[in-house]
Point group: C2
Chain length 296, copies 2
């Protein structure tokens, strides 16, 4: 089976299902402007890596992936919220995202702030209202995802990220803090949430936590590298941002080559951790490679 697994087809299929579900879960409503703004950023494409991790992890733990679809889409709404708010003039002040003008450039800052708030709130409504799983699992998923975006997660990571701009005394410890909270926390929550919906036990959750921490760090290292080596056309967002903001990054710390090989080593370890799941681990193992090999 390892030889015959077609990751591209797997990603395409799940990505398509996620796109359809996102569109269906968040139809237009009144007042139209806010629904347009939320849908503009939510349906702007993207790899849909986080929702696919939710679905793949649910499947790995023996669940029906469709049961985790509200959670998968909620994770993408949370991720989109964080992008909309990070791009605001008061934060990173970015004009492009996913190859399109950022939310506030199209709808104005007020609506962009509210679109993010609306997506964040709706993410929790969606999980609570639509997850067909025992309610104790639903409560656990909500607790986990909420923590991953709070001051103990994404928000905290973004605060330290803002503090590190142009800070000549930035340390590797601060860099680790940022990656763990701004990037890895939501990736880890995605993997664990899918497993919880499926009813995974403590041992499975622990293995998936280790896997997530590896791919989370690998993901961030590659992100930092792409900010240096890629073009805006390839990434769909501004490049060279870290250099311009005088931010410490992994390639700045270790160089590009060492960074690249560390990312590969992390992915290989992540694959090793999932051995115990046998063939069922193949999609998540392939996803670890994909995260390191990606060019956008």
């Amino acid at each position: 089976m390892a030889q015959t697994f077609d990751l591209t087809a797997y990603l395409d299929r799940y990505r398509q299902e996620v796109e359809t579900a996102l569109d269906a879960y968040l139809p237009m409503g009144y007042p139209p402007k806010i629904y347009e703004a939320m849908r503009y950023s939510l349906l702007a494409g993207g790899k849909r890596l986080r929702p696919i991790l939710v679905l793949a992890s649910c499947e790995l733990c023996g669940g029906v992936p469709q049961t985790a679809m509200p959670t998968a889409c909620a994770v993408e709404m949370i991720h989109t919220m964080s992008l909309i708010h990070d791009d605001l003039p008061a934060m990173d002040n970015d004009d492009y995202r996913r190859g399109k003008l950022t939310n506030h450039k199209v709808y104005g800052e007020d609506i962009a702030i509210l679109a993010g708030d609306g997506l964040l709130a709706y993410a929790f409504e969606l999980i609570a209202a639509r997850t067909e799983a025992p309610p104790d699992r639903v409560v656990k998923v909500i607790e986990l995802l909420a923590r991953s975006v709070s001051a103990a997660g994404l928000v905290g990571g973004q605060v330290v990220d803002l503090e590190m701009e142009g800070n000549p005394e930035a340390t590797e410890a601060m860099l680790d803090y940022i990656h763990q909270h701004k990037t890895a926390a939501l990736l880890e929550a995605s993997v664990l949430a899918g497993a919880i919906v499926a009813g995974a036990g403590a041992e499975e959750l622990e293995l998936l936590r280790q896997y997530s921490q590896n791919i989370g760090l690998a993901f961030q290292i590659i992100d930092d590298i792409l900010d240096i080596t890629s073009t805006q056309a390839e990434l769909g967002k501004s490049v060279g941002k870290d250099e311009k903001a005088q931010k410490l990054t992994y390639p700045k710390l270790w160089g590009i080559e060492v960074s690249q090989s560390k990312a590969q080593k992390l992915a290989a370890e992540a694959q090793q951790i999932l051995q115990r799941f046998n063939d069922r681990a193949i999609p998540l193992q392939a996803l670890a490679d994909y995260i390191v090999a990606r060019t956008n």
Copy 2:
């Protein structure tokens, strides 16, 4: 009992319990700046009307109020988030709130946006992690509260509110939409959430919904009147905002006296609706009077 019920003592006791719980649920953490910013606005005082409604409603339905404390504090976090974001320069651009400088005036716009995001996310984490009630009730509470703040609630109300500024074609229907979503939705969710934690049935919830809609509208009418008749020292926030923003309000539509008597009539109806609960309704009935008689 009706003669001996001391509303002031009742409010003071619950307000004190809420203050203590808010402080305990959101201690300082790393990065300190974001926790300081969240705590600055969350612990800035205020009437704590929404959390008290949660606790009183839980008690009315036979629950132990302390069981609803995480929900009560979560509602106050959501309310605080909406105030922080509404006060931003891109929105209402206010300098004072609850008698203190607004969050962004102290911490900057970036941190204020993130403090709001952090409070919103943490509200759901708190309910999920700390509510000692059957998980199906916890899921229902989260769904209800999330909807009350999403584009179908608070966020939608704020969007129409922004659209109505200086709009000479604003109608009473738009005004009703704003009050129902920006103010009444979270008040209603507070009352219903407390009841759900207590395990209330459909009939009780329906009565409480009618009660909430009445006090929600009464609350908004009084808010509009106070914006005209009060001073900044009394309210702790800017006054005369509606006039300056050329916004349609209830007193502008009906005049101050008629508005005042409509608010009183709504409160009397709200009290009537709760008759069926007998003496247990006394605190919520007294709260209806309090909402109309308040001077800040």
